[in-house]
């Protein structure tokens, strides 16, 4: 196992990073961003979609800002866990992978996590034995191995924990790139297809996340499914947040992760539930609706049918705090 050689760039500011990216883009050279490296480097070791250039964001101090409503992309997951942000985010951060990975992995990296699949996250020899796959076809135009005979969509699974939690708190994501800076709501950041993953254009990267001040009024919970309490990626995850009033709750958000190629905020289902909210029973119904909406495929550790059923249980458990004290 040997990482293929690449040229390593270490910009000190966002501007410098953008200019390096623009140059490489214009010269047609391929490149990747790297922050903590806990996702990218294992893939490189396995020769998965490696690039000739890698630009590190680790030396850009302005991306390490860490305040209650402003989280720089280069804040480590460990810092996030012990930082000043919303307790829901801190809770979720503390469950990601393992202590060692959290020390190195970052917020930006977790949000931009590459999608995963049994047929993709394998060594080169292994992938050769299945004649490659759509997501890493090594110029063979290979078919998808999860759902064969369709050559358009990659169904690899997004297995990040932070995205759903930030979504239910109304987070905004801020990007920088050769075309300037832009901001959008986090749930608009993700774009279907396991290869495309999100709206980032070539040369664009995440600089920071902001949370609305009103997120303070939201309570929430995050529930995840995984076999071991350490290391494992989530096999299903449900984040929920709600705002209490004297009659019960007046706002409700639920987002799911680790079941599809992107994390998803379920606005339709929650607004229906909120209209007729009566606590436990509504939560149960909502959980069932979420199970129906989300459609995992067979490419992670647990079988998809089980993961769907567990979404129901996780949703119920994530909402449990909304009717009891």
């Amino acid at each position: 196992m040997k990482t293929p050689p690449f040229k390593f760039h270490r910009p000190k500011s966002i501007e410098e990073a953008v200019s390096i990216a623009s140059e490489l883009k214009n010269s047609g050279d391929s490149f990747d961003w790297i922050s903590g490296g806990t996702d990218l480097l294992p893939n490189y070791k396995w020769h998965i979609n490696t690039k000739k250039h890698v630009i590190s964001l680790a030396n850009i101090d302005e991306m390490k800002t860490h305040e209650s409503y402003h989280i720089g992309a280069m804040v480590s997951l460990h810092e996030l866990e012990h930082g000043p942000t919303h307790p829901l985010i801190r809770k979720a951060a503390g469950t990601i992978a393992s202590t060692l990975i959290r020390r190195s992995g970052t917020v930006g990296g977790n949000l931009c996590l590459d999608t995963r699949c049994f047929w993709f996250n394998q060594t080169e020899d292994w992938r050769r034995s299945i004649d490659w796959c759509h997501k890493c076809d090594c110029d063979t135009n290979a078919d998808c191995r999860v759902i064969p005979n369709q050559n358009t969509l990659c169904v690899a699974t997004y297995q990040g924990d932070l995205a759903p939690c930030m979504m239910v708190l109304g987070a905004k994501i801020h990007l920088a790139g050769p075309e300037g800076q832009r901001s959008l709501k986090l749930d608009e950041f993700y774009a279907l297809d396991g290869m495309k993953r999100n709206v980032l254009e070539l040369g664009e990267f995440v600089t920071h996340i902001t949370l609305p001040i009103e997120s303070d009024e939201l309570e929430g919970d995050y529930q995840k499914l995984r076999l071991r309490e350490s290391w494992d990626f989530p096999e299903a995850g449900v984040a929920a947040s709600w705002k209490r009033n004297d009659r019960g709750i007046e706002q409700l958000y639920v987002a799911t992760t680790a079941c599809e190629s992107i994390p998803r905020l379920h606005m339709e289902e929650t607004s229906v539930a909120l209209n007729e909210w009566n606590g436990k029973e509504s939560a149960k119904k909502l959980a069932e609706n979420i199970r129906k909406t989300v459609k995992p495929v067979n490419n992670t550790y647990f079988p998809p049918a089980y993961r769907r059923k567990m979404l129901r249980v996780l949703t119920k458990r994530a909402l449990a705090g909304s009717w009891s004290d």
Binding site: T123, L227, R228, Y306, M310
Partner: protein, 934 residues
């Protein structure tokens, strides 16, 4: 003979006023020799057996090695002698070996499950700059394999590749990059053949069987080995009142050791091969290299490096070891091959994926009327240890219980997967889990406590199992008693709230296999140890026993240190090189402590005699009246009279020129005469009983083990620290198998998880508290009474957890691992069956004792007394399996009952039940019996 002389006594702690000396309580003014303390230490009377005048109590009577207990190390928690090397990072594992000028070796592997190689073109690879050698199957055509009867491996593929990852070619180059590039330049043309992935398909005739066994080939199938055994009253057994029938499926497992395989081969200037490899059985590698390379064994030196975990996964001679040697011979330079993790999974040799049909029968007396087992095991692409595994799946669950009948059909098939082999608890784990859970089910049906049922059906000490294994010591009853007491069983069984449960399981394992794998020439000892003592007084031990982290170096050092009364730092172990080590058959089948320590004790006794003879000449006192204390030899009746160890050693050297000794061990003659009687035969057996308490989440199917009480009978804990470590480690491994570990093959037959992220070994979060309980049954033939403690402790945890899951939520599962999704689907099924919506509403199982409970309880008490009498040898009558059923142990059982059978060749009636899978292997006729010319 010179006259003895007196040494001034040192400061005694207490002075007696009656003029007599306190035995062993004197400090000696004269320096001892060696050790961190130059002065002799007081003898620890608490560690000298009562039979020798000390205070060590032996509830089961004296042991033959008692006279050699000096109180030095045996029974003391002792850190492993090589532990400092490891914790300071200075231990050299396979990957740490660096030889000057060495090359990087890389292996080209098959991308196909099953294919015929049409051609290989290596010319482009050979001409790549930096490439020094390229080798293919053409470079060595000789077969090898760990078992002499099933040599079916080659250094590289000869004609066919048999699984994804099978070796095709290899290259050696100046740099790793060049080697990797060279692999991509080797052009191989394949003709893809139809692969077999499901083990049941292996039972059928095939156009292209994965191997050809010549005249021994079974039909045209992929059956590699089939076993039939029928003992006892199988007809009566099937008519028994209580029956449990289950069909188990066990996923394949990998050992998950930390260190990936790594090997360095070097042909030294004298033309001898030096091979550095982390191996459990260096001797078999030695033999295999000799035949693969076509050179005599004396031209090979196998050097075992530190081994970063083996668990059975490093006990085959491996093709990559051959490749390194071949590349080194071709290039004239040292060649190193290091594995990546997925290569480790491709070479595999882990636990067999198995499908086991298990039936347990019990009669109205609460006796086990019989066990009927059918085990189909998936061997993957090669034989490895499979021949033995096929037997072990049957014979290793014929004890610790007395049974009325035993019917076993077993078969191992080849499939196009990485080869299965030996893994901790070899062959015994899966069927043990099935039988223990079946016993739980039968107890449920009978309305008796499974703890009582087990206690009322145990074989006593000094008895024989139904297939003729000789049981010497057994601490089974004490193990059960201890876990029952410590876990609070009586207050918890079927009484815990819903979602919480407790379960029990037992285990039985060999302590060294009775027949060595290589029994040619027949009279080889199993183990030999040489001792050498020079001017400095320290003793160098030469042994071939492979320390794979289990602590065999420590055990053998302890044995020598104990007999010679020397501190451990005066014992130096040399166990790494075949050049200097006497042949030892290696670290498998839990044989090392039993066999190697026995050999070491013999060698040490011989040295002791020589030293005492020298002391006799100096002191004038006969050896019989001399005692070895810490680095001192003194007169039994007046400890002040004596000489130091060093003085005696110098005298012995002056007299004889050198002070050396050696000892060997071979097993006593034992066992039956039927075909396969040797499989599972051991000079002693270990026993264990575990209780596990679990918490089950009925909504998600997650199981959390809260605590485990683990009692293991290891005969005598030579090093309690190591025994406890083995028990806890075994629990971790067994819990992994029962809850999460599996080699998972996808719909295309590819191994989906050849990495440590998706091969789910339990993390520290999942690991519960394990209470290790050491039970000492003082085996009459074990070294100082010891038996194995490395593999047996793994067995009981699996059934204990499965039984606890039932106790928690009333759901039976017979598929391992019990991953949450599997258990969840069982829970759903049960809910549907009971028409319950919410799994939280499932009924909590309850226990209502029936009259039989009291009867069994009484019988258990009687048997306790019976076992005690036999233990103390007050009752020396013969006892064989069957006495509980009213047989006379002194007459052949078949003469006492018409229905009693002992057969290893099936009749058509024996195979009538066509639902049995492995039994179908007997539908084929061996080629030699079909009148064809193979």
């Amino acid at each position: 003979m010179s006259k003895g002389y007196r040494q001034a006594p040192g400061k005694g702690e207490k002075k007696r006023t009656d003029g007599k000396r306190i035995a062993g309580k004197q400090h000696f003014g004269v320096p001892g020799s060696g050790g961190s303390n130059p002065f002799s230490n007081l003898q620890d009377i608490d560690r000298i057996p009562a039979s020798q005048g000390g205070q060590l109590k032996q509830p089961r009577g004296p042991h033959v090695h008692d006279p050699h207990i000096t109180g030095q190390t045996i029974g003391k928690p002792t850190p492993l002698v090589d532990s400092r090397w490891k914790v300071t990072g200075q231990a050299e594992y396979g990957d740490d070996i660096r030889l000057p000028n060495e090359l990087f070796g890389k292996i080209l592997r098959s991308p196909h499950h099953y294919a015929r190689i049409i051609s290989i073109d290596t010319s482009a690879a050979e001409s790549l700059p930096g490439v020094k050698a390229v080798a293919t199957g053409m470079d060595s055509v000789n077969r090898f394999g760990v078992l002499p009867v099933t040599k079916d491996e080659h250094a590289m593929a000869q004609e066919k590749v048999r699984h994804v990852g099978d070796l095709v070619a290899c290259v050696a180059a100046d740099s790793e990059e060049a080697a990797i590039e060279a692999l991509s330049l080797i052009k191989v043309e394949y003709e893809v053949l139809e692969a077999i992935h499901d083990m049941e398909d292996g039972l059928l005739d095939s156009k292209d069987p994965i191997h050809d066994r010549g005249k021994y080939h079974i039909g045209d199938s992929n059956v590699q080995k089939r076993v039939f055994q029928q003992f006892g009253h199988t007809d009566a057994m099937r008519k028994a009142k209580f029956q449990s029938k289950s069909d188990w499926s066990f996923a394949g497992l990998h050992h998950g050791f930390t260190e990936p395989h790594a090997v360095v081969a070097h042909w030294d200037p004298n033309g001898r091969l030096q091979l550095y490899t982390p191996q459990q059985v260096p001797h078999y590698v030695h033999r295999a290299l000799s035949s693969v390379l076509d050179i005599p064994m004396h031209q090979i030196n196998v050097i075992r490096t530190f081994v970063g975990g083996g668990f059975g996964g490093k006990s085959d001679p491996f093709p990559h070891e051959m490749c390194a040697a071949i590349l080194s011979r071709k290039s004239g330079r040292p060649v190193r091959i290091n594995f990546d993790r997925e290569e480790v999974y491709w070479i595999n040799r882990g636990r067999h994926p198995s499908r086991i049909q298990m039936e347990v029968f019990a009669d109205e007396e609460g006796r086990i009327a019989g066990i009927e087992t059918d085990a189909l095991i998936d061997g993957g692409g090669f034989a490895s240890f499979g021949h033995v595994t096929t037997y072990y799946n049957g014979v290793l669950h014929t004890s610790p219980y007395e049974i009325g009948g035993f019917h076993y059909t077993g078969a191992r098939v080849w499939t196009n997967k990485p080869a299965s082999g030996a893994m901790r608890g070899h062959g015994a784990v899966n069927s043990r889990c099935a039988v223990e859970v079946a016993i739980d089910e039968v107890c449920e049906e009978m309305g008796v406590d499974p703890m009582t049922f087990r206690l009322a059906n145990l074989l006593p000490p000094h008895s024989r199992t139904i297939t003729g294994f000789r049981i010497t010591s057994t601490g089974m009853r004490e193990c059960l008693d201890e876990v029952r007491k410590q876990s609070g069983w009586d207050d918890k069984f079927r009484k815990l709230p819903f979602g919480r449960g407790i379960g029990v399981g037992c285990g039985f394992f060999i302590s060294g296999s009775g027949l060595p794998i290589h029994w040619d020439p027949e009279n080889f000892p199993h183990a030999a140890v040489h001792l050498q003592c020079d001017m400095d007084g320290g003793v160098t031990v030469h042994t071939g026993a492979a320390d794979i982290g289990q602590g065999s170096d420590t055990a053998v050092a302890q044995a020598v240190s104990e007999v010679l009364a020397l501190p451990l730092d005066m014992i130096r172990i040399r166990s790494k090189e075949s050049d200097t080590a006497p042949v030892d058959l290696g670290s498998y089948s839990s044989r090392v402590t039993f066999m190697n320590c026995n050999a070491a004790i013999r060698a040490a006794i011989e040295m002791r005699e020589k030293v005492l003879k020298a002391a006799w000449e100096i002191t004038g006192y006969h050896p019989d009246s001399l005692v070895l204390g810490d680095r001192r030899i003194y007169y039994k009746r007046d400890p002040a009279i004596g000489i130091s160890w060093l003085e005696a050693v110098h005298k012995a050297q002056a007299d004889t020129g050198s002070l050396i000794s050696s000892g060997a061990y071979r097993t006593p003659p034992m066992g039956g005469v039927h075909k396969g009687a040797a499989a599972g035969l051991a000079p002693a057996y270990s026993f264990s009983a575990y209780v596990a308490e679990v918490e089950v989440d009925p909504e998600t199917g997650f199981v959390r083990i809260i605590k485990a009480w683990a009692a293991h009978d290891c005969g005598k804990a030579l090093n309690p620290l190591a025994v406890e470590g083995q028990i806890i480690g075994s629990c971790h491994m067994g819990m992994g198998q029962v809850l999460s570990e599996e080699m998972r093959y996808g719909r295309t037959g590819h191994l989906l998880n050849p990495d440590l992220l998706d091969y789910k070994i339990m993390s520290v979060h999942e690991m519960p508290e394990v209470v290790p309980i050491i039970v000492e049954s003082n085996d009459p033939e074990g070294p100082f009474g010891a038996k194995e403690a490395g593999e047996g402790p793994l067995l009981p945890i699996l059934p204990a957890v499965v039984n606890a899951i039932y106790d928690a939520i009333g759901v039976r599962i017979n598929e391992l691992p019990v991953s949450p999704d599997r258990l969840h689907s069982r829970i759903e099924k049960k809910c549907r069956k009971m028409k319950i919506d919410d799994p939280m509403d499932l009924p909590n199982p309850i226990f209502e004792p029936k009259p039989l409970q009291e009867k069994l309880s009484k019988r258990a008490d009687e048997h306790t007394e019976r076992d005690l009498q036999r233990d103390l040898l007050k009752d020396r009558s013969a006892y064989v399996n069957g006495v509980l059923f009213g047989f006379d142990p002194d007459l052949p059982l078949s003469e006492q009952s018409e229905g009693w059978r002992e057969s290893v060749t099936p009749t058509p009636e024996d195979l009538a039940d066509d639902s049995k899978r492995a039994a179908r292997a007997w539908n084929h006729v061996e080629r030699r019996h079909r009148g064809e010319n193979a």
